[in-house]
């Protein structure tokens, strides 16, 4: 582990992306993941440790035209208690309620949960089915530029994303759901929250006259990254939630995922859970 050579706590976004441009920077936000990872030697802090917690541009939840913009530094507790989220994105609030513990929700940030790119990250699956985009800022030529990427395409492997080394994840933008939008999140565990999910499921779509459109299905902890499940979505798209459709979607889901065995579950059991819980979620939606 190379020793940290400088610690910086910039007060503006401009300053922060300027520091990133110099390279060899580890970004510190809530610290809830960085600290234990670095203590355990699983992650080496680079030459510069940059604390972004003092940058006001990265905070807050606001309506931005037809989207809700959540600053990367927004804590899980802030999302959980936010009236906009409660009204428009209840599935995200639900996921935040199943996130670790009160202490970690108070410190951990949305940007951190995305940036860590854990296949089991609790907010990722609901954000993917909500068509969320990430906003990335950088300062390659002396001025700050931003780009957006769909979250579903952002992850490249465990702990790896398409964020370039000189970029800072500044916010998540979630389009305002249309009328009739329904979204559900399921996290498997024996505890309400303090569990690393063995699997998680997000399902969303617009229900119009009983027919589902814009179907979105995503799974956590069944692949190196959270994944969107195209074939499962296909089985759902344009259908009514009758018994046959629900079984077809659940079976498609089981066939589509390709999980591994680890200390938390075997691949076989994960596939069974994906099937049974996809079915349960859709049963509940159909009954509602």
């Amino acid at each position: 582990m190379t020793p940290i050579e400088q610690y910086l706590a910039p007060a503006t976004l401009d300053e922060a992306v300027g520091i990133l441009q110099q390279g060899e920077v580890t970004i510190l936000a809530g610290g809830t993941d960085l600290m234990p990872q670095s203590k355990a030697g699983r992650l080496a802090i680079k030459r510069t440790l940059m604390n972004i917690r003092r940058i006001p541009e990265l905070k807050g939840i606001a309506l931005d035209n037809d989207a809700i913009r959540i600053g990367a530094l927004t804590t899980i507790t802030e999302i959980l208690n936010d009236p906009l989220v409660k009204e428009y994105l209840p599935v995200l609030a639900d996921a935040c309620d199943h996130f670790a513990s009160d202490q970690i929700r108070n410190a951990g940030t949305l940007g951190g949960n995305i940036g860590n790119a854990s296949p089991a990250g609790d907010t990722l699956v609901p954000l993917i089915v909500l068509d969320a985009e990430v906003e990335l800022a950088s300062k390659p030529n002396g001025s700050v530029t931003t780009r957006r990427l769909p979250l579903a395409e952002f992850f490249t492997g465990p702990g790896r994303t398409k964020r370039a080394a000189n970029e800072l994840l500044t916010a998540v933008r979630i389009p305002l759901p249309k009328a009739g939008h329904v979204a559900r999140f399921f996290k498997f565990g024996t505890r309400p929250a303090l569990d690393i999910s063995a699997i998680s499921i997000g399902i969303a779509g617009v229900i119009d006259n009983g027919v589902i459109s814009n179907a979105r299905v995503a799974f956590g902890a069944v692949a190196p990254t959270p994944i969107r499940a195209a074939r499962t979505e296909e089985a759902l798209e344009g259908r009514r939630l009758d018994e046959a459709t629900i079984e077809a979607v659940a079976s498609a889901a089981r066939d589509e995922v390709n999980p591994i065995d680890d200390v938390r579950a075997t691949a076989w059991y994960r596939k069974e859970l994906i099937h049974n819980m996809t079915k349960r979620i859709l049963d509940h939606v159909a009954q509602a």
């Binding site: 024996t190 690393i196 200390v263 938390r264 349960r280």
Partner: protein, 805 residues
């Protein structure tokens, strides 16, 4: 103003059965209690241990030169630096520092004392160890196979020939010709005849997993030598006096030069009953550095290098007659000893009691073989084998009842023990509330009706099935004659304000013994709890005690404290009688006064009497000692004997909801009835039982230390899952007060009892809900789901003795 003098009499009152606040609670709730982790001695160094990176290997070389050269490093030790080290542990098979061979991943190879923990850790990284891998035994059944690699082979010299050691040299030096660590064989009755009389016989193998104590305060020690070579240890041990003697042996020291101070302890549960290598190593470091050395584990180290509960493979054969009379039990167990022998290997002492004596059974045949493997080694853990035995026996009780179409409660009542019974193993049940435990728990939970209804509703639509299960237990409750003595000394000192200093050998490990001992003393002396100061944590001050284990402290130390208090009381009353010219039998102590026993009229304030005596009389009165040795006996060679002065009983009924889509078992309610003899401190006993129930819940449902080919896969709270607050069941606890004649105020020990039945009752509840019986713990969602889908492997026990070729 004195209310008593105004009213002219003091009403009789008792502290027994009241809700007494724990004496140390205010300090703890304010964060002011200093645990060993919080202690800093001037000049203190910090120590860390280098553990093996191989499961089983020969050590080819160890190079510590770079570590020794690191600035801030004071001492680096390997086995070569302590040629006189002595083997520790129950079987003396364990050298603290390993020089030639590592047998598990916890094995200690080197240790560093440095100016800071960071420097010590950096130094460990600089130590180079060269290994030569050896074949690994991770499945205990493999340890018994012919030609199995030996974990403790006999040593050979450089020429390849056997080394000739002194006869009776410890295993650590002489080795073992096989992998058998210990064997236990017990029998009573005529097995063949009893089996022939049976109408129903079941034989099943049960598999009990690894769990570990998870004390919230990690292990730690501080060792320091003074200028004269006397050793002072700050230690979390539960058995300071036994350890003082053992350390003396390991260190070639006179025991009188060793002093152990026990700071408040962050949880025990049996984990601190043995001496572990880290403690001896820390002392070696302190001796070499001539500075105080502190060693505290990380949580990961705590998981890797602490003892576990004994994992067991157990085959049980049980039989009964059609009328519901039990006929026999035959038990074979294979104990995975791990690489070294600690108390886990001796759990058969307790297990066989459950098989032979929980129910009346005419014939019982019990055999254990404990084998060495390259796995973590098992120690003592609250319940001491009884969770494992009860898991098997109580499932068979349900299976037998079902086979003869008898209600499970009726079947148990028919075979349950009564007071006055002497069992095949020689245990004498002087007080026994077993049947009342059974009926109370069953009635309060509506067990029989729910049990019938749940079976009817098994086939109903919907994924969630409800189940109810019952299990009972027997455990020592009046000490346990394991050592030559089971006694405890007390010194009681009264000052001239009538405050009591109770100096007892019994340690407080969070269980509340300080409070209950104070309560028993105050009950005799008529004083408020606040009048007592307890001194219990320094071997240089306190009288001898065997230690905190076997649910013995309230019973043994309690009787000892009562004895001291009674002695003091007799002297006080005699002095008061003399001074006030009356008969001492007419006097009593109450509310801080000497009173007239018949009317409650105060004669003299106790504090005044004490001052008076101090200034005018001999001080003999204020110092009194007492020693209590309960009327129990050692087992004979066949493990027969009445080892405890009293036995505790309990029945627990567990209710569950099984989600058949996920396998998640939710424990919704636990109804317990405990024969505790008598409730002393209601607040304390409730806390013991609730905590024990939830510990049992963890054993049944969530906790699982995953050991895979000798490697612990989940040494953290993320994946080793303790029960958290939202998961706890509703708890309905009843106390059966059988008023044990030998117990302090009628009480019996209760510390271990509440964890024992939960897993067994949960197994029966899952069966009641689903019709599927699961023979292996834990009931994690995946395990249950597999079982529900016929994909669970039924445990098998092929070999329990060496296979002969």
């Amino acid at each position: 103003m004195n209310v008593a003098e105004k009213t002219h009499f003091i009403e009789a009152d008792t502290l027994i059965g009241k809700r007494i606040q724990k004496k140390d609670a205010p300090e703890k709730a304010a964060g002011k209690t200093r645990y060993i982790q919080d202690m800093v001695l001037p000049g203190q160094l910090h120590a860390k241990i280098l553990r093996s990176s191989r499961v089983h290997a020969r050590i080819v070389s160890i190079d510590t030169s770079a570590a020794k050269a690191l600035p801030g490093v004071h001492v680096v030790l390997t086995a070569a630096d302590v040629p006189d080290q002595q083997p520790i542990g129950v079987a003396r098979d364990h050298l603290p520092l390993k020089g030639e061979r590592v047998r598990s991943l916890r094995d200690e190879i080197a240790a560093v004392a440095a100016d800071s923990e960071e420097i010590a850790e950096a130094a460990l990284k600089l130590i180079r160890v060269e290994y030569e891998d050896l074949p690994i035994i991770s499945d205990p059944q493999d340890a018994l196979k012919p030609g199995a690699p030996l974990i403790h082979p006999e040593p050979h010299g450089a020429d390849g020939k056997h080394l000739h050691l002194k006869p009776n040299a410890p295993i650590a030096f002489a080795g073992k010709p096989d992998n058998i660590a210990m064997q236990f064989d017990y029998t009573h009755g005529d097995l063949a005849q009893a089996e022939a009389e049976s109408d129903v016989v079941f034989e099943d193998t049960f598999k009990l997993h690894y769990v570990t104590h998870c004390c919230m305060g990690v292990s730690g020690i501080i060792a320091e030598f003074d200028a004269s070579g006397n050793l002072l240890m700050y230690s979390n041990t539960q058995v300071p006096f036994l350890h003082k003697r053992e350390f003396a042996e390991y260190l070639h020291m006179d025991p009188s030069r060793i002093r152990i101070i026990q700071p408040p302890i962050g949880g025990g549960f049996g984990s601190k009953l043995d001496i572990y290598p880290f403690e001896v190593i820390c002392i070696f470091l302190a001796r070499a550095a001539q500075r105080p050395v502190k060693m505290v584990f990380s949580r990961e180290e705590e998981f890797l290098a602490s003892p576990t509960r004994q994992p067991v493979l157990l085959t049980l054969r049980s039989g009964c007659k059609k009328d519901g009379t039990l006929t026999f039990r035959q038990v074979h167990t294979l104990h995975d000893n791990g690489a070294y022998t600690s108390w886990g290997a001796t759990t058969p002492f307790v297990m066989m009691q459950t098989f032979s004596s929980l129910y009346r059974v005419p014939a019982c045949d019990y055999h254990t073989t404990a084998v060495y493997t390259n796995n973590p080694y098992a120690g003592s853990f609250r319940g001491y084998g009884n969770l494992q035995a009860t898991f098997a026996i109580e499932q068979h009780m349900d299976m037998l009842a079902e086979a003869i179409q008898m209600d499970p409660l009726e079947f148990r009542l028919k075979n349950a023990q009564d007071a006055g019974e002497v069992t095949g193993q020689g245990m004498k049940f002087k007080s026994c509330g077993f049947k009342e435990c059974l009926t109370t728990a069953a009635e309060r939970s509506d067990y029989q009706a729910k049990h019938r209804d749940n079976i009817v509703h098994r086939g109903d639509a919907g994924p969630v099935k409800r189940g109810i299960g019952i299990a009972s237990m027997l455990h020592v409750g009046g000490g346990a004659k394991i050592y030559p003595s089971d006694g405890c000394g007390t010194i009681l000192k009264l000052d001239d304000f009538a405050n009591v200093t109770l100096i007892t050998g019994a340690s407080e490990i969070g269980q509340g013994s300080e409070t209950v001992l104070s309560q028993l003393v105050c009950e005799e002396l008529g004083l408020p709890i606040s009048a007592v100061t307890v001194v219990n944590n320094d071997t240089a001050i306190t009288p001898w005690d065997v230690g905190v284990h076997a649910s013995r402290t309230t019973f043994i130390a309690g009787n000892s404290a009562i004895g001291a208090a009674k002695k003091a009381k007799a002297k006080i009353l005699a002095a008061a009688a003399k001074k006030h010219g009356c008969d001492e039998t007419a006097l009593d102590l109450r509310g801080g006064f000497v009173i007239k026993a018949d009317t409650g009229e105060p004669v003299v304030e106790l504090a005044r009497l004490m001052r008076n005596l101090h200034f005018s009389d001999k001080a003999e009165l204020v110092m009194t000692t007492f020693y209590y040795e309960p009327p129990s006996v050692h087992q004979d060679k066949g493990f027969k004997g009445d080892v405890s002065a009293a036995y505790a009983w309990a029945t627990q009924v567990v209710e569950v909801e099984v989600d058949t889509d996920t396998g998640i078992v939710k424990m919704t309610k636990v109804t317990g009835a405990h024969d505790v003899g008598r409730v002393l401190n209601r607040l304390g006993i409730e806390g013991q039982i609730e905590g024990g129930v939830v510990m049992g819940q963890g054993y049944a449902l969530t906790e699982n230390l995953i050991v895979d080919n000798g490697v612990t896969r989940n040494p953290n709270f993320r994946d080793y899952k303790l029960v958290t607050a939202p998961e706890i069941p509703e708890m309905d606890i009843s106390f059966i007060e059988s008023m044990d004649g030998e117990g302090p105020q009628g009480a019996k020990g209760v510390g271990e009892a509440p964890s024992i039945c939960i897993a067994a009752a949960a197994a029966n509840a899952i069966y009641n809900a689903t019709g599927v019986r699961i023979f292996a713990l834990p009931f994690t969602p995946e395990a249950v789901y597999r079982a529900l889908h016929g994909k669970a492997e039924k445990p098998q026990l092929q070999a329990w003795k060496v296979t002969t070729t």
